[in-house]
């Protein structure tokens, strides 16, 4: 009963993770197992010093995280707070904001490409620049495309956060709110001092989702231009090194390990929250 699922999990998730770490210290073209040569930390050296897309990718991942954390997540929370009140049509609003969550990130990339297109996209038409030399190629111009991609990502992320916080708000004991109001707290104070702290389990999950989503970000940029020209992300660089011309598995694996090590921060944070209390009880 435990055996088969555990075996699947080990063979297809955990052993590959360890192999990634092992391969990151080797040089390999991916052809035959005999070609694997030990390489020490040279792959990491190469990435840090001689691999131009790496530092832009790190910056973009950080930017992705900051943007989701500062814009998309608070927007989702704001929507949840507004829609949690007894307003007419709240179901309709909820459905509209939630619809992008149903769509794959790859599809979101395509849909926004139609919207952002330089000559035929709606955005440039609304800005009045379509067909003029001032028209911006939102996904093509390396100066703006990361921001354009972040807006597309926000379109989905905010709805996701909204639905989780709506559930969280329903779970808050209504007497807490009443008690705060009796004590003379205004709506803003009630929210930040009472309601928000009471939703701690949801807050933990939102933090973890926001961090992990920004590390996993891949599909949108891959659909736009495979994560090049202003849209470099660590995850995309991993794949470029694995399937590209040279097939430099060692470099790809070293990038994967960097991604893994960063991911362990939110994963450990989440696990300690989720399982820490189990042990106390």
């Amino acid at each position: 009963m435990v055996g088969l699922p555990t075996l699947i999990q080990l063979v297809l998730v955990w052993i590959p993770t360890l192999l990634s770490a092992a391969l990151s210290f080797t040089r390999w073209n991916g052809l035959s197992l005999d070609d694997i040569k030990p390489a020490g930390v040279s792959n990491y050296d190469f990435i840090a010093q001689n691999y131009p897309p790496f530092w832009p990718a790190v910056q973009h991942n950080v930017l992705w995280l900051v943007f989701l954390a500062v814009i998309a997540t608070p927007l989702g929370l704001l929507l949840a707070i507004l829609l949690d009140q007894n307003i007419r049509g709240t179901r309709i609003y909820q459905s509209i904001f939630f619809t992008p969550v149903m769509l794959s990130l790859a599809l979101i990339g395509v849909i926004w490409q139609l919207f952002y297109n330089r000559d035929n996209g709606l955005l440039n038409f609304l800005l009045g620049t379509a067909g003029t030399p001032q028209a911006v190629d939102w996904f093509g111009d390396s100066g703006v495309n990361i921001w354009a991609a972040l807006i597309a990502a926000t379109w989905r992320h905010a709805g996701y956060v909204m639905i989780l916080y709506l559930a969280g708000l329903k779970g808050v004991d209504p007497t807490l709110r009443e008690a705060a109001q009796i004590d003379g707290a205004n709506a803003v104070q009630t929210f930040f001092r009472v309601i928000f702290p009471a939703m701690r389990p949801v807050n933990v999950i939102i933090i973890v989702i926001t961090v992990i989503e920004s590390l996993r970000a891949f599909d949108i940029v891959y659909v736009i231009n495979r994560g090049t020209n202003g849209l470099e992300l660590i995850s995309a660089l991993v794949i470029q090194n694995l399937v590209g011309e040279g097939q430099v598995i060692g470099v790809g694996s070293a990038l994967a390990v960097i991604l893994l090590v960063i991911s362990l921060v939110p994963i450990t944070f989440y696990l300690s929250r989720a399982f820490g209390k189990d042990k106390e009880a």
Partner: protein, 315 residues
Amino acid sequence: MSIAQPTDARPAGRAPSRRGAAAGTGSQSAGKRNKPRFGLHIFLSVLAVMWLIPLAWTVFTALRPKADTDKYGYFSFGGSFNFDNFVQAWTQGGFAQYAWNSALITIPSVILVLFFASMMAFAVSRVSWKFNVTLLIMFTAGNLLPPQVLAAPLFEMFKLLPLPYSVSDSGSLLNTYISVIAVDTAFQIGFVTFVLSNYMKALSPELTEAALVDGAGIWRQYWEIILPLCRPALAAMGTLEVIFIYNDFFWPLLFLQSGDRLPLTTAVNNLQGQFLSNYNLIAAGAMITAIPALVIYLLLQRHFVAGLTLGSSKG
């Protein structure tokens, strides 16, 4: 614990109508504020319209023949509106094959995920064993890893595992549906195990104790007592996993080299190459890909949202 805590799980799964009602009517303080809130409505309406614009633009473009947009421009209402682009994209773009591929990958994966995860969840939540927490942590953590971390070793493992050419035309696990199904299953088991184990922990221990007295073995307790009680959670997880796996872009991209084996979500990547700058056809292709997810959302919205809120450890 997390959001997947039992007290959450019960109303969500067991009494969906109650949950539905709560979601619809808003919070408790609502009664006293009856003044119409125009400012709030204006804000929400503006935002809602902005939210719909990208999708609406795609639908609008998809419904117009290329000849009409060439003649009147993309920013016009001139010409006719019909479904010709959808028909053309479907036939010319090979969408029937992609849709079939999506079904071939999604359906077995979801069934396997529910089967393995429910077994695992039963074991760690209802049978006491000292490694329960360790196993559960391993499963939960596995689901949170970025898939790119495992990409290289999995790709090479599949490439180096020889298979007879009668089974796979690549001579290995690469370019087979099995590779995608296996990895999708492995990757999703962790999340579903975590959610279901929380759900099962909330069920009274007396249920299985009584069965134990009657001489029911572990398998009968699992299959005849616990699983039927988990039906709401299984429905929620099933709906959620159909969407997650249908929407998965990465694993088919990595493992499937033949274009005609790709599922819809990954094939979306090739729309531009296929239809060049015929944006009307690209829009129609995109909408075709969106339809299965939107239909599931309309039909099973309750289960989907219950699933998300039951266990949102999903990244």
